[in-house]
Protein backbone atom coordinates (compact mmCIF):
# COMPACT_ATOMS: atom_id res chain seq x y z
CA UNK A 1 0.00 0.00 0.00
CA UNK A 2 1.47 3.32 -1.06
CA UNK A 3 2.00 6.12 1.45
CA UNK A 4 -0.26 9.11 0.80
CA UNK A 5 -0.31 11.60 3.64
CA UNK A 6 2.03 13.06 6.22
CA UNK A 7 1.14 15.25 9.18
CA UNK A 8 3.46 17.62 11.01
CA UNK A 9 2.77 19.08 14.45
CA UNK A 10 3.93 22.70 14.79
CA UNK A 11 3.85 25.19 17.66
CA UNK A 12 4.93 28.49 16.14
CA UNK A 13 8.48 28.49 17.47
CA UNK A 14 11.68 28.82 15.39
CA UNK A 15 12.29 25.12 16.14
CA UNK A 16 8.88 24.30 14.69
CA UNK A 17 9.82 26.02 11.47
CA UNK A 18 12.80 23.70 11.13
CA UNK A 19 10.53 20.71 11.82
CA UNK A 20 8.18 21.95 9.11
CA UNK A 21 11.06 22.30 6.63
CA UNK A 22 12.10 18.72 7.28
CA UNK A 23 8.49 17.58 6.81
CA UNK A 24 8.34 19.42 3.46
CA UNK A 25 11.63 17.77 2.48
CA UNK A 26 10.28 14.30 3.32
CA UNK A 27 6.90 14.96 1.68
CA UNK A 28 8.68 16.03 -1.50
CA UNK A 29 10.94 12.96 -1.53
CA UNK A 30 8.08 10.57 -0.88
CA UNK A 31 5.44 12.36 -2.97
CA UNK A 32 3.03 12.82 -0.04
CA UNK A 33 0.40 15.42 0.73
CA UNK A 34 1.48 17.35 3.82
CA UNK A 35 -0.83 18.57 6.59
CA UNK A 36 0.49 20.91 9.29
CA UNK A 37 -1.43 21.11 12.57
CA UNK A 38 -1.16 24.04 14.97
CA UNK A 39 -3.12 23.70 18.22
CA UNK A 40 -4.04 26.66 20.42
CA UNK A 41 -3.23 25.30 23.86
CA UNK A 42 -6.54 25.82 25.66
CA UNK A 43 -5.53 23.64 28.58
CA UNK A 44 -2.75 25.97 29.67
CA UNK A 45 -5.11 28.96 29.42
CA UNK A 46 -7.67 27.17 31.59
CA UNK A 47 -4.97 26.27 34.14
CA UNK A 48 -3.90 29.90 34.36
CA UNK A 49 -7.50 31.04 34.79
CA UNK A 50 -8.11 28.49 37.55
CA UNK A 51 -4.95 29.54 39.39
CA UNK A 52 -6.09 33.21 39.16
CA UNK A 53 -2.93 34.24 37.31
CA UNK A 54 -5.17 35.21 34.39
CA UNK A 55 -8.48 37.01 34.37
CA UNK A 56 -11.14 36.01 31.85
CA UNK A 57 -10.66 38.95 29.48
CA UNK A 58 -6.90 38.32 29.48
CA UNK A 59 -7.25 34.62 28.69
CA UNK A 60 -9.57 35.40 25.77
CA UNK A 61 -7.08 37.96 24.44
CA UNK A 62 -4.26 35.38 24.58
CA UNK A 63 -6.48 32.87 22.83
CA UNK A 64 -7.08 35.32 19.99
CA UNK A 65 -3.36 36.17 19.80
CA UNK A 66 -2.41 32.49 19.67
CA UNK A 67 -4.98 31.86 16.95
CA UNK A 68 -3.59 34.74 14.94
CA UNK A 69 -0.01 33.54 15.44
CA UNK A 70 -1.11 30.05 14.36
CA UNK A 71 -2.70 31.38 11.16
CA UNK A 72 0.39 33.41 10.28
CA UNK A 73 2.67 30.46 11.01
CA UNK A 74 0.64 28.02 8.92
CA UNK A 75 0.57 30.54 6.06
CA UNK A 76 4.35 30.77 6.24
CA UNK A 77 4.68 26.97 6.02
CA UNK A 78 2.18 26.91 3.14
CA UNK A 79 4.37 29.28 1.15
CA UNK A 80 7.46 27.17 1.86
CA UNK A 81 5.62 24.01 0.77
CA UNK A 82 4.32 25.67 -2.38
CA UNK A 83 7.82 26.87 -3.25
CA UNK A 84 8.82 23.19 -3.32
CA UNK A 85 5.63 22.10 -5.14
CA UNK A 86 4.43 20.05 -2.19
CA UNK A 87 0.66 19.70 -1.79
CA UNK A 88 -0.15 21.30 1.55
CA UNK A 89 -2.99 22.03 3.95
CA UNK A 90 -2.73 23.93 7.23
CA UNK A 91 -5.08 23.07 10.09
CA UNK A 92 -5.70 25.32 13.09
CA UNK A 93 -7.27 23.64 16.12
CA UNK A 94 -7.99 24.43 19.77
CA UNK A 95 -7.80 22.16 22.77
CA UNK A 96 -5.29 19.84 24.41
CA UNK A 97 -2.33 19.77 22.03
CA UNK A 98 -1.54 16.05 22.14
CA UNK A 99 -5.20 14.99 21.97
CA UNK A 100 -5.93 17.21 18.98
CA UNK A 101 -2.82 16.15 17.07
CA UNK A 102 -3.56 12.46 17.61
CA UNK A 103 -7.24 12.86 16.70
CA UNK A 104 -6.37 14.65 13.47
CA UNK A 105 -3.70 12.05 12.64
CA UNK A 106 -6.33 9.33 12.97
CA UNK A 107 -8.98 11.31 11.09
CA UNK A 108 -6.66 11.92 8.15
CA UNK A 109 -5.40 8.36 8.29
CA UNK A 110 -1.91 9.85 8.08
CA UNK A 111 0.91 7.50 7.15
CA UNK A 112 3.69 9.43 8.92
CA UNK A 113 3.65 11.93 11.78
CA UNK A 114 6.54 14.42 12.01
CA UNK A 115 7.30 16.26 15.23
CA UNK A 116 10.06 18.36 16.74
CA UNK A 117 12.77 17.08 19.02
CA UNK A 118 11.48 16.21 22.47
CA UNK A 119 12.98 17.93 25.47
CA UNK A 120 15.17 16.09 27.92
CA UNK A 121 12.96 14.79 30.70
CA UNK A 122 13.99 15.53 34.26
CA UNK A 123 11.29 13.68 36.16
CA UNK A 124 8.93 10.75 35.92
CA UNK A 125 6.01 13.17 35.93
CA UNK A 126 7.12 14.64 32.62
CA UNK A 127 6.87 11.22 30.96
CA UNK A 128 3.12 11.43 31.55
CA UNK A 129 2.47 15.13 31.15
CA UNK A 130 4.80 16.35 28.41
CA UNK A 131 2.76 16.98 25.26
CA UNK A 132 5.56 15.83 22.93
CA UNK A 133 5.92 12.57 24.85
CA UNK A 134 2.18 11.97 24.63
CA UNK A 135 2.08 12.58 20.88
CA UNK A 136 5.03 10.25 20.39
CA UNK A 137 3.51 7.47 22.49
CA UNK A 138 -0.11 7.73 21.28
CA UNK A 139 0.52 8.16 17.57
CA UNK A 140 -1.34 5.57 15.48
CA UNK A 141 1.30 5.75 12.73
CA UNK A 142 5.11 5.81 12.48
CA UNK A 143 6.66 8.96 13.97
CA UNK A 144 9.64 10.93 12.69
CA UNK A 145 11.32 13.06 15.37
CA UNK A 146 13.38 15.82 13.75
CA UNK A 147 16.89 16.08 15.17
CA UNK A 148 20.14 17.54 13.87
CA UNK A 149 18.30 20.71 12.98
CA UNK A 150 21.51 22.31 11.66
CA UNK A 151 21.44 19.98 8.67
CA UNK A 152 17.78 20.56 7.81
CA UNK A 153 18.36 23.88 6.06
CA UNK A 154 20.75 22.23 3.61
CA UNK A 155 18.34 19.38 2.93
CA UNK A 156 15.56 21.91 2.32
CA UNK A 157 17.70 23.78 -0.19
CA UNK A 158 18.51 20.55 -2.03
CA UNK A 159 14.93 19.84 -3.10
Amino acid sequence: MALKTMIVSVAGSPGSLVTAKYAIYLAKLLGLKLFAVYVVNERVLQELLRSRIFVEVEARAYERDLEQQGRVFLERIKKMAESKSVEFEGILLKGVVSDEVILKTKELNADILVMGEMKELTSRAEVFYDEGERIFRKSPCPVVVVKNTAGVENLFKEI
Binding site: A11, G12, S13, N41, V44, L45, E47, L48, S51, R52, I53, V55, V57, E58, Y62, D65, L66, Q69, K119, T122, S123, R124, A125
Partner: protein
Protein backbone atom coordinates in the same frame (compact mmCIF):
# COMPACT_ATOMS: atom_id res chain seq x y z
CA UNK B 1 11.79 24.33 29.03
CA UNK B 2 12.49 24.97 32.70
CA UNK B 3 12.11 28.01 34.91
CA UNK B 4 15.79 27.85 35.76
CA UNK B 5 16.62 28.29 32.07
CA UNK B 6 15.37 31.86 32.57
CA UNK B 7 15.62 32.68 36.28
CA UNK B 8 19.17 33.56 37.33
CA UNK B 9 20.51 34.50 40.76
CA UNK B 10 21.25 37.99 39.43
CA UNK B 11 17.50 38.47 38.97
CA UNK B 12 16.61 37.50 42.55
CA UNK B 13 16.18 40.22 45.19
CA UNK B 14 16.20 38.67 48.64
CA UNK B 15 14.92 41.76 50.43
CA UNK B 16 12.82 44.11 48.33
CA UNK B 17 12.99 47.75 49.42
CA UNK B 18 9.59 48.43 47.85
CA UNK B 19 6.61 49.04 50.10
CA UNK B 20 3.97 49.30 47.35
CA UNK B 21 2.96 47.21 44.35
CA UNK B 22 4.19 49.79 41.87
CA UNK B 23 7.55 50.16 43.62
CA UNK B 24 8.02 46.38 43.70
CA UNK B 25 7.31 46.12 39.96
CA UNK B 26 9.77 48.94 39.21
CA UNK B 27 12.45 47.38 41.43
CA UNK B 28 12.15 44.02 39.69
CA UNK B 29 12.08 45.56 36.22
CA UNK B 30 15.28 47.45 37.10
CA UNK B 31 17.07 44.25 38.03
CA UNK B 32 15.97 42.66 34.75
CA UNK B 33 17.22 45.71 32.85
CA UNK B 34 20.76 44.73 33.91
CA UNK B 35 20.43 41.79 31.50
CA UNK B 36 20.52 44.22 28.57
CA UNK B 37 17.34 42.60 27.24
CA UNK B 38 14.97 45.37 28.34
CA UNK B 39 14.70 47.90 25.54
CA UNK B 40 12.40 50.33 27.36
CA UNK B 41 12.07 50.05 31.15
CA UNK B 42 9.22 52.56 31.47
CA UNK B 43 7.19 50.86 28.77
CA UNK B 44 7.77 47.45 30.41
CA UNK B 45 6.53 48.83 33.75
CA UNK B 46 3.55 50.43 31.99
CA UNK B 47 2.47 47.11 30.47
CA UNK B 48 2.79 45.29 33.80
CA UNK B 49 0.74 47.96 35.60
CA UNK B 50 -1.90 47.95 32.84
CA UNK B 51 -2.28 44.21 33.38
CA UNK B 52 -2.64 44.76 37.14
CA UNK B 53 -5.53 47.12 36.47
CA UNK B 54 -7.49 44.21 34.93
CA UNK B 55 -7.23 42.38 38.26
CA UNK B 56 -4.54 41.74 40.84
CA UNK B 57 -1.95 39.05 40.14
CA UNK B 58 -1.72 38.49 43.88
CA UNK B 59 -2.87 34.85 43.63
CA UNK B 60 -3.01 34.05 47.33
CA UNK B 61 -0.59 32.32 49.71
CA UNK B 62 1.28 35.66 49.93
CA UNK B 63 2.46 35.33 46.31
CA UNK B 64 2.07 37.68 43.32
CA UNK B 65 2.97 37.01 39.69
CA UNK B 66 2.82 40.32 37.77
CA UNK B 67 3.25 39.62 34.07
CA UNK B 68 2.77 40.99 30.57
CA UNK B 69 3.85 40.49 26.99
CA UNK B 70 5.56 43.57 25.57
CA UNK B 71 7.73 44.57 22.66
CA UNK B 72 9.96 46.28 25.23
CA UNK B 73 11.78 43.04 26.09
CA UNK B 74 13.80 40.54 24.10
CA UNK B 75 12.80 36.93 24.67
CA UNK B 76 11.46 35.93 28.06
CA UNK B 77 12.57 37.40 31.39
CA UNK B 78 11.85 36.38 34.99
CA UNK B 79 12.78 38.14 38.21
CA UNK B 80 11.91 37.20 41.74
CA UNK B 81 11.79 39.25 44.92
CA UNK B 82 11.03 38.62 48.56
CA UNK B 83 9.68 41.21 50.93
CA UNK B 84 10.07 40.78 54.67
CA UNK B 85 7.58 43.49 55.59
CA UNK B 86 4.95 42.44 53.02
CA UNK B 87 3.43 44.43 50.14
CA UNK B 88 -0.22 45.22 49.51
CA UNK B 89 -0.93 43.72 46.07
CA UNK B 90 -4.73 43.81 46.52
CA UNK B 91 -4.54 40.01 46.52
CA UNK B 92 -7.63 37.82 46.16
CA UNK B 93 -7.29 36.54 49.72
CA UNK B 94 -6.69 39.99 51.19
CA UNK B 95 -3.24 39.04 52.52
CA UNK B 96 -0.10 41.03 51.88
CA UNK B 97 2.48 39.53 49.54
CA UNK B 98 5.98 38.36 50.53
CA UNK B 99 7.04 36.77 47.24
CA UNK B 100 6.81 38.47 43.85
CA UNK B 101 7.66 36.80 40.52
CA UNK B 102 7.71 39.23 37.61
CA UNK B 103 7.57 37.80 34.09
CA UNK B 104 7.81 39.64 30.80
CA UNK B 105 7.97 38.27 27.32
CA UNK B 106 8.20 39.43 23.77
CA UNK B 107 4.82 38.64 22.16
CA UNK B 108 6.61 36.33 19.73
CA UNK B 109 7.26 33.84 22.57
CA UNK B 110 3.68 33.45 23.81
CA UNK B 111 3.54 29.65 23.95
CA UNK B 112 6.70 29.43 26.01
CA UNK B 113 5.49 32.23 28.28
CA UNK B 114 2.19 30.49 28.99
CA UNK B 115 3.93 27.20 29.78
CA UNK B 116 6.35 28.91 32.15
CA UNK B 117 3.53 30.72 33.93
CA UNK B 118 1.72 27.39 34.34
CA UNK B 119 4.88 25.70 35.67
CA UNK B 120 5.43 28.49 38.16
CA UNK B 121 1.81 28.32 39.26
CA UNK B 122 2.06 24.56 39.91
CA UNK B 123 5.24 25.02 41.90
CA UNK B 124 3.79 27.82 44.02
CA UNK B 125 0.70 25.74 44.81
CA UNK B 126 3.01 23.33 46.61
CA UNK B 127 3.12 24.26 50.30
CA UNK B 128 6.42 22.43 50.85
CA UNK B 129 8.01 24.48 48.09
CA UNK B 130 6.64 27.73 49.52
CA UNK B 131 7.89 26.83 53.01
CA UNK B 132 11.38 26.04 51.70
CA UNK B 133 11.33 29.13 49.51
CA UNK B 134 10.63 31.32 52.55
CA UNK B 135 13.71 29.94 54.34
CA UNK B 136 16.29 30.33 51.55
CA UNK B 137 18.74 33.17 52.19
CA UNK B 138 20.54 33.71 48.89
CA UNK B 139 19.89 33.96 45.17
CA UNK B 140 22.03 30.86 44.64
CA UNK B 141 19.90 29.02 47.20
CA UNK B 142 16.72 30.00 45.36
CA UNK B 143 18.02 28.69 42.07
CA UNK B 144 19.08 25.42 43.72
CA UNK B 145 15.62 25.09 45.27
CA UNK B 146 13.93 25.58 41.88
CA UNK B 147 16.26 23.02 40.33
CA UNK B 148 15.50 20.52 43.08
CA UNK B 149 11.75 20.78 42.54
CA UNK B 150 12.01 20.85 38.76
CA UNK B 151 14.05 17.67 38.91
CA UNK B 152 11.69 15.72 41.08
CA UNK B 153 8.28 17.33 41.49
CA UNK B 154 6.57 14.06 42.43
CA UNK B 155 8.87 13.31 45.35
CA UNK B 156 8.75 16.94 46.39
CA UNK B 157 4.97 17.01 46.70
CA UNK B 158 4.41 13.61 48.39
Amino acid sequence: MRLTDYLAKEFCIMDLKATTKEEAIKELVSVLASSGKVKDKDDFVKHILERERLGSTGIGNRVAIPHAPTQSVEGLLIACGRSKQGIDFQSHDGEEVNSVFLIGTNPGDLNLYLKLLASLSKLLNDKLFRDEFAKVESGEGLIELFKKYEKNPIAATV
